[in-house]
Amino acid sequence: MKDKFKLLPKEEKRDIEETRKSLTYWEDVWRRLKNHKSSMFGLVGVILIVFVAIFGPFFSPYGYEDTFTDYINVPPRIDIYKITEEKYFYVSENRYLIESTENGTLGTRYNEVARDLINRVLYFSKPYKIKTEITSSTTYPAPTDLAENVFYSETWGIGLIDAEFATGDEFIDIAYIHPDSPLTSLSFEEADFELNDDYLLDNVTFINPSGDADAISSDEGAEFLIEQFDTNTKIIDIRVSSSDIVSVDYSLKLVEPSERPEGMEDVIYQIEYKGNEVSEVYDTVRNQNNFLGTDHLGRDVLTRIIFGARISLTVALVATLVNFFIGVVYGTVAGYVGGSVDNYMMRIVDIINSIPLVLYVILLSVVLNEVVIDFNLFGRHFTLFRGSGGLGTIIVALGFVYWVNMARLVRGQIIGLKRQEYVLAARTIGVSNIKIMTRHLVPNAMGPIIVSMTMMIPAAVFTEAFLSFIGLGVSAPQASWGTLANEALQAFRRYPYQLFYPSLAISITMLAFNFLGDGLRDALDPRLRQG
């Protein structure tokens, strides 16, 4: 017990100073950021969004301009009707009939061949496409008795007339076929078409060499129409409908569910095919062709959102970088030089700042929309900037206006920093002003600058979306998220998904950047750097 009271030699004493590891400033910031749950969520989100924007388009099976004319306004989840063991149908909102599989892979879109407006029944049949090429270069002289508005092709030997379906679809009707035309033989004798039994070619009185107009009407609703007629390549596309008629009775769709007959409350369409009548939705399945559906031109919504991410983020990133450079340079100079220079520079900032920035951006967009900068070099024409293209305009407008806040922030920081002893020390040993600014002042003001930039990106995404939304954004066919939302607005009550997904993309991006910015601010705030 006694030896407990022995004085300790010096080296046995616990050295406290070694017990805590010291962290550099940025290590400490990272540690704080890691502890901030929502900001880590934001960081992961930002990385994912950027990743999708950069690499997404490479993995996307479609381009942003690709249209699926058969699948217009098809939602991400579709109601399918089972008619026979292997036949499933989806009836679109605007009453197109599209063949589907059980799991939602869409197939052929059926053509409307007749409609009964009184009973509200539509008749559809499956279309076939025939494509043929002419090899000979014979010409077939025109008959003299063709009607006035018939176009006659000597190469094909056929007379064509513009026609229109009751649905408003335009097509070309055949008015006359020359007896020697290759088309006649094609229709009847060529075996290459793999036409099955459903295809009622035999009954078609297709050709009347005399050019009798009645000859065009076909049996049992089957119709021919020429889709493409190209005399240069000598290729002709012909669409033929089968006689397998599917009828869709949509009369109940127009009645409130509560007013439908008993037992029929859920019935929207009654579909009949070869005597099988179906009025119950078989299943609601995911659209396998277009994961998030298609828009009013039949473009894939997901693809457009992914490409839109590129545009939205490019705008945000470039605008933010422009702001960063102008703002930092302007703010640093004003803060460091001080005096009357600072005073004048800040008056300019005040003036710019005393107008709602959005107004300025709108005004600038309007102005820049008229501007085209182009030049001729080595006999070729280059366009450097086309305002009506949208993308450049938005970037310039955002960059032109949003730097003022950054300039204010940086100026404040620099004024505080330039009184620090290390700046005085640098000055006493003759470091140039430029070097003091770039080496001593700006790096030390980096914390608030980074936070401000993180917050500026969602603000720019937002402003870009807003500008696109009021029609000043990037022009078609390119589309940012704002453009997508704007396009979807026209019919969003029928196709809410077209508005919902781009909006979700905007909201998630804003959320991610906001979370990250909040976390960074907390992590960089020196007042909290004590715990």
């Binding site: 006694k2 407990k4 004085l7 004493k13 050295d15």
Partner: protein, 343 residues
């Protein structure tokens, strides 16, 4: 001896941070009698400010008074109440009335958007039955007492129109407006110029005499203690190392830490004496050293110092020291005299 007005027993206050529990005050006890000026001295992080805030029950989230009692006698008859067990409303009746407090930085301790008059009258009216005119009259009178040159005109100024020293005077005027029995001054002079410091200390002493209150004076500056205090508590690592009268602590310090403090401050009287710093740095209160908190820096540390916390050894009637050197089993170290009858 005059009446006891405050008795702090086994007080423990902790803060719960994301790194863990910071034990800012660990089991301290001291008494305060009427008319005393008790100086609490220690370096930053020693727990002196937390002690004073605990006495006011002003510890806020994430802090908490974990244990012990703070008994205070608000009136002349010995009717002690435990501050730690009072409701919010009860304690706010005591604050500013029986116990008041002034803070270190007069620049930030007054609300910038209200006039001095507004802030003073509000306190006076809270604790007295005076009507507004009387309260204003009283406030002007108080400002005169604390040495504001033109109370009539300056009472309608805003705090930012006052200089630092003036603001501290205004703070003091507010604090003494209800003739408190106890004034807690938390580093009242630290943020002020040296010349102003002396004036403020003089003012405090004068007021203490006049309205017969007790003062707890918190400072890291032994000079301030020497000038103003009658009794001293030396704190380190959240514990009391030594306590006694100002004479005891200055003439006969019995704790290596107190001695270290003395050696590390310059004096004008003894020339050419080297200043000796206390080596090392204050303990990490998240993970305080076992035994005596001072042991890693103590020049006379013993094995037991790293294992067991020493008890308070009574050195004399007025002085006690929390150091194993006072134990009879401890070896003799030059300059340290063991009290008679120490166990």
């Amino acid at each position: 001896m005059s009446k006891k007005i405050l008795e702090v027993k086994n007080l423990e206050t902790s803060f719960y941070t994301h790194l863990g529990e910071v034990q800012a005050v660990r089991n301290i006890s001291f008494d305060l009698h009427q008319g005393e000026i008790l100086g609490i001295v220690g370096e930053s992080g020693s727990g002196k400010s937390v002690t004073s805030l605990s006495v006011m029950n002003l510890i806020e989230d994430p802090g908490e008074i974990k244990g012990g009692s703070i008994r205070f006698s608000p009136n002349v008859d010995d009717n002690f109440i435990d501050i730690t067990k009072m409701t919010r409303e009860q304690i706010s009746q005591i604050r500013g009335n029986d116990i008041s407090m002034i803070f270190q930085d007069p620049m930030t301790a007054m609300n910038p958007v209200f006039k001095i008059q507004n802030q003073m009258v509000e306190v006076i009216q809270r604790h007295t039955d005076l009507n507004k005119e009387d309260a204003i009259r009283r406030a002007k009178d108080l400002l005169g007492q604390v040495g504001i040159p033109d109370p009539e005109g300056q009472i309608t100024d805003y705090p930012f129109q006052f200089s630092g020293g003036m603001r501290q005077r205004a703070m003091i005027a507010t604090a003494i407006s209800c003739n408190p029995r106890l004034l807690i001054a938390d580093e009242p002079t630290t943020a002020l110029d040296v010349t102003i410091q002396a004036q403020i200390l003089e003012l405090l002493k004068k007021l203490q005499n006049k309205i017969d209150m007790s003062i707890i004076l918190i400072t890291h500056d032994l000079g301030v203690i020497a000038e103003a205090a009658t009794h001293v508590v030396v704190m380190y690592g959240g514990q009391i190392m030594e306590k006694g009268t100002v004479r005891d602590i200055f003439n006969n310090p019995m704790h290596p830490y107190t001695r270290g403090l003395h050696k590390s401050i310059p004096t004008a009287t003894k020339e050419k004496k080297r200043l000796i710093p206390i080596e090392g740095s204050p303990p990490d209160l998240l993970d305080p050293p076992t035994g005596c908190p001072f042991n890693p820096r103590c020049p006379h540390a013993m094995t037991i110092c790293t294992e067991e916390s020493p008890k308070m050894y009574t050195v004399s009637d007025t002085q006690s020291s929390k150091c194993w050197l006072m134990d009879e089993k401890a070896p003799k170290v030059k300059g340290y005299k063991k009290p008679k009858g120490a166990k």
